[in-house]
Amino acid sequence: MMKKILLFLLVLMVWQPALHAELTIEITEGVEGALPIAVAPFSWQGNGSPPEDIAAVINADLQRSGRFKTLPRADMLARPTSVEAIEFKDWRALDIENLVIGQVQSNGAGGYQIQFQLLDVFRGEQLVGYSIPTTAPNLRSTAHRIADLIYEKLLGMPGAFATRLAYITSTKPVNGERRVDLNIADADGFNPETIVSSSEPLMSPAWSPDGLKLAYVSFEGGQSAVYVQGVYTGKRQKVTSFKGINGAPAWSPDGRKLAMTLSKDGNPDIFVFDLNTRKLQAITRHYAIDTEPAWSPDGRSIVFTSDRGGKPQIYRVSAFGGKAQRITFQNSYNARASFSPDGKVLALVTLVTREEGKKYRIAVQDLESGVMQVLSQGSLDESPSFAPNGSMIIYASKAGYRGVLAAVSVDGRVRQRLALQEGDVREPVWSPFKK
């Protein structure tokens, strides 16, 4: 039953063609220069072949971020594994500004020691270097942490490579039997694990701020209910199962409350549920559909989707309720907004009109200026989720008949796609930083 589904990663580095002009800022190439870097293959001291290509994992992380232009191995003139072996002028000739070298050593007892050094090629000096002990199951996660260290050293903001994703997968009904899974995986799609499996719909996973729990909606038993489940303990509790919709759970930044959608009073409204006192507070009361709440990082306000003006748009309200204010005005459909980690930008789903027809796409809207920028290129894109460092947005898209995951850098220049070998994948949510 708990068959693991292999996620495989297609990294598609695509420079975005000019967007249709209306409503969006036209993105041109190379506005922000990607940093040239080379990650030389790490040396291996131990029996047999190396257990994991650490340098390849680091390289893929850096490249996927869109902030680095990595040098393909085939273009490397040399593959040094120690500082003494580096001919800095050769790397300078390739316009490489930074070089990563390293060694992996087996300690003979199932453990490994990974050393790495990040070097400034022009100055010929080390910027950062560590020796990190690890174990076989943690080799990839150690490589992600090294990529995080490199990212932070060179860009001044933390990397988000050693994080995880939660997402929903489903297969089409076979002989009337459906199957929906809630899964987690590393941010690069590796190490997928199913943590909930159901014959009824599962939806709207949301990470707790400490990254240890997931809230989600399950229809087991024939109607919706909101659950909170320990990601690593498997223990779960039913939070709400009122009559009607129990949906769209969103954690407050302090992890004590869940904003959610309940239609127990007749139509969908936003409520805040206190997980300790189990008290429920109504945030909106309107005959329209109010749903998809998301907290601002300071916890003071909540944005949500409402069609009170006729079509779905984003509104903002105090986290304690009160008068809601509409904040999206471009396009006839804007929904499922979420805040960037710094609280300055909203990611959302918007409906744009193109020559080929109407397209649901992922956009970001600057909260101060109100300017919206469309980032994705699909027809049915949805469920945007920021990386915890704010650098990328992961979302659900369609490729042919299949649901796939895609990610785009917030500047729109780098795209990736994550697909399953079979079935549909949707509703990706990026975990917070590991604590």
């Binding site: 939806m203 038993g221 024939g222 559909i289 989707t305 049915l380």
Partner: protein, 180 residues
Amino acid sequence: MKKMSIVWVPILLSLLLLVGCSSTPTSEGGADVSEQSTGADGSDAYGDGASTSAASQGSEWQGDPLENPNGLLATRVIYFDFDLSTVRSDYMDVIQAHADYLAANPQVVVRLEGHADEKGTREYNLGLGENRANAVRSLMLAQGVSDNQLVVVSYGEERPAAFEHNDESWALNRRVELIY
């Protein structure tokens, strides 16, 4: 399921009816899950069976009107226009027939399952599906059906009836299913 012979339809329906009568809407468990899917697929079967039955029988339906493959009650799916949750006028007689049946059989409970197409966001579509089911519910209430005979559940876009990403599939997915 679609090729189900007409012989089985009444049997299946009476089984469904029994399940429907014996379970209360608030205590639904795993059993109701299969009931829903059977009901949904079964509604196609009435359509398939209709011509066969008319040709071979040609007489007045004698059994439970719910089992009559030629009756208005055989229509168990109500389709909606894009982004709308108002019931189209061509479904009014179908809803009237169901309402009459329910009013005459106050022990019968029907589940109104609201659905949306995949366009737009999932949680918003959950709201849209509920609006559709509630639109059907309001009409039935106005026609004398008691509130406790109607159970509204929205599945949004989570349970599509058709899986293509085109107008035909989307039209089939914007629906309310009546599950007896």
